[in-house]
Amino acid sequence: MKQRLVVIGNGMAGARTVEEILSRGGEFDITMFGDEPYGNYNRIMLSNVLAGIEDESGIFLNDLSWYAENGITLHTGVRIERIDRHARMVYGSDGSATGYDKLIIATGSSAFVPPIKGAHVPGRGYHQGVFVFRTLDDTRAMIRYAREHERAVVIGGGLLGLEAARGLQNHLGHVTLVHAAGHLMNAQLNVQAGKTLQATVEQKLGIEVVVDGMTTEILGKHAVTGVKLGDGRIIDCDVVVMAAGIRPNSAVAADSGLVVERGIVVDDRMRAVDEDDIYVVGECAQHRDQVYGLVAPLWEQARVLADQITGTDPGAAYHGSQVATKLKVAGVDVASMGLRGPESADDELIEFAEPKRGIYKNVVIRDGRLVGATLIGDNGKATALIKAFEKGLPLPANRSELLFDLGGPAAEENVAEMPDDEQVCNCNGVSKGALKSCVDGGCKTVSGVMDATRAGKGCGTCKPLVQRIVEWAAGGAVEEDPAASYYVPGVPMPKSELMAAIRQYELKSVSAVFGKLGGDEDAKSKMGLASLLKMMWGASYVDERDARFINDRVHGNIQRDGTFSVVPQMKGGVTTPSDLKRIAEVAERHGVPMVKLTGGQRIDLLGIPKEKLPQIWAELDMPSGYAYAKSFRTVKTCVGSDFCRFGVGDSTALGIALEERYQGVEGPGKMKLAVTGCPRNCAEAYVKDLGVVAIDGGKWEIYVGGAAGAHVRKGDLLTTVGSADEVITLTGRFLQYYRESANWLERTYAWVPRVGIDRIRAVVVDDSDGIAADLDARMDETVAAYVDPWKERAEPATPGQFRTSLPLTVLPQVPVRA
């Protein structure tokens, strides 16, 4: 029978240790208990979540499926309250009792809240408006509350306090940082560095800083109204965040008879004192008198623990860590390691200060080794210094080279010469050697190596280095990630193969494709398949409505509140007084919340409830502008030769003709076009999926692959032609070639450079492959099949097609009888 391994604490150390154990082939029956209701997430990134730089969903390291896949029983939201070392049992807050053969304690820390009057309400936890900053729930609650309030005080001017203060600025107007000591980050910085940082924080970020500020009381009866300092000063505020330090969660261990001082005391094998089967890892562990509050030491501890518990390397030992820290506040560079300044007469101090620019740097050297360094305002040398500090590397005779790049640009690190044990990803503790062995083990894609090792998945700054190491390790044989080449994630085939299979088996519906080629249906693949099948089969496509995204089910763009937008077609941006009147009347009659000119030269009626869509279309009686679909969208035009004194071609007429012909054509991505009457380019044709520019002599230039959205790119000149008819034909052929060969959601700005403009020109203009006539014919079929979707209004296509999905209006109530 397998040994039973129980892990208390499902945070960064607990989950990482289990990963290390699994990667050593450790055969255990694993049960994990976590106080928090989630899988394991990257706690470090909470600062970025608060600051709005990172989305919550991006911070998860192991989601619930990871536990399932690895056969781990995870009890979330369960707190272990007692360990019985003799009976080898742990007891949970849910009343459970679980036996173990081996136990790992990874309970981390909690926020330390100094004994300040008014911080707590007896029997109810924190006073309303008082928060700590440790967990995802803390962060969510803080964001929710801060948004509705105005002034925050953060108590504690360390790393966490600074990151909290910066993050809060994202949600409310005014933030004051109150720090008990005489200068910021006093645990890591000397006075001068701390003062320099304070000036930057005040001037650059606009955070008010109070030092020597001992908070004695939190004021307010029902909710916070201010804080009171030791000198009697009162700072008004309605939100208070405590960031005054952390305390290891060791109470359960102490109550259960383990040796606990500041943390749970462990030996070099990461075992609790005198316990053969109880291991401790992470912030709750005290090793050689040290308790750590950063992640880097946890990675080292997890490796030693895993080597020990699995018996892979009985000699493995943890010797303590040298830790360096960086502040994660954009625009405020702070890095520090080791000593803040010289401690004995023999210590060398090299120091540079330029307070006007907010720069302070120092290094402290003892016996020729770097024992401390501080960088404020310029982190350029941080990587090199951290390396010298952690490894005790020999230092240059010219010490100023430690603080400045002297002469020439800094050489890119030569990855071949980097030692194997050099850490590349400092967030997730991944060495060059680990990356190399992952590549040697057969993983030859950058994304695959990143997934497998976690490298680059923390703050992300090491990604370029990871890429270079993978390229080097693969000896030029880096492969594209195969899944990256699938057309949709749920069917493991690139587009061309998928199309061949669809044709071979005559698969005409999305469910048929899953049935034959993909196994289980996949919600995230349906929309891409629907688009592809519609293009391939036209009228004989079997349209399963559930395969459509909501926008395509109701022919409008869903908005943040569940209403929809209505954008009628306005070919080439040209309209008439009577059309404008009709739009105005409909908008007025229905109290449309907003009428807006779009960036696509037409009019948007925003905020329409789903159930009103058919009526509004009927009253407008105009075709859909397809502003919601992955399809042909608009053709922007300028006034051109009919009116403009510079115009050399009738751009308006050509734009209207193009839109008339290609309206509603679906594709792998949006297709936005423009026609402009001269190279002054008033309709922005150089930056469109296909842009047409009239040039003197009755000619038209056609540009493709341009963009000015999330990505900005000037289009490539496809060709120059002598007539509007040729423009229309080549446009159709180009779009059809794009529809057939681009990946799902791949816009032309990515597809054109991928395929190459020369190749596209050969196929589309010179017909090198002899497929031009076929492309034209298939586009003709698509054009002929066009039906205005807004005609689908008399009868719903499915039951309840336009029924509201949220209570924008009161739904029919179902009576409930007891």
């Binding site: 209701p37 989630y38 899988g39 997430y41 919550e56 969903s57 911070i59 998860f60 989601d63 619930l64 499926s65 469910s511 289980d520 249906e521 996949d522 919600a523 995230k524 349906k526 929309m527 399963e544 409505r545 559930d546 395969a547 995204f549 909501i550 926008n551 089910r553 869903i558 943040r560 509140d561 569940g562 499915t798 039951p799 309840g800 029924r803 509201t804 999905s805 949220l806 209570p807 009161v810 739904l811 029919p812 109530q813 179902v814 009576p815 409930v816 009888r817 007891a818």
Partner: protein, 101 residues
């Protein structure tokens, strides 16, 4: 106490889609999976209030139409790190959708 409520006919919900029902003040999204079975979840996305019934589904998950977070249709657990949604027992009886609240 458990109460059973008839929400309507099975044919009110197209195969592979969801519809929202108001039950005693609560908004409940009922989905009809392509294998014919039903699932019921609270209708409001815990992320930013999106209408889950407008989401796309497969046999396992529903994907919210607003920011594409996903939830397990059977357990209500998020597959993308969001808070869970409430699930309700739901069944078919003679073409009627029966929900237990």
């Amino acid at each position: 106490m458990r109460t059973s409520v008839i929400l309507g006919s099975l044919h009110d919900i197209p195969l592979g889609e969801g519809r929202t029902f108001a039950v005693d003040g609560a908004m409940i999204a009922v989905f009809r999976l392509r294998d014919g079975s039903l699932r019921a979840l609270s209708a409001v996305c815990p992320h930013k209030g999106g209408p889950l019934a407008d989401g796309q589904i497969d046999l396992k998950q529903v994907v919210c139409p607003l920011h594409l977070n996903a939830w397990d249709l059977t357990t209500g657990c998020s597959l993308s790190g969001q808070p869970p949604v409430t699930v309700y027992p739901v069944r078919v009886d003679n073409d009627s959708i029966i929900l237990d609240v």
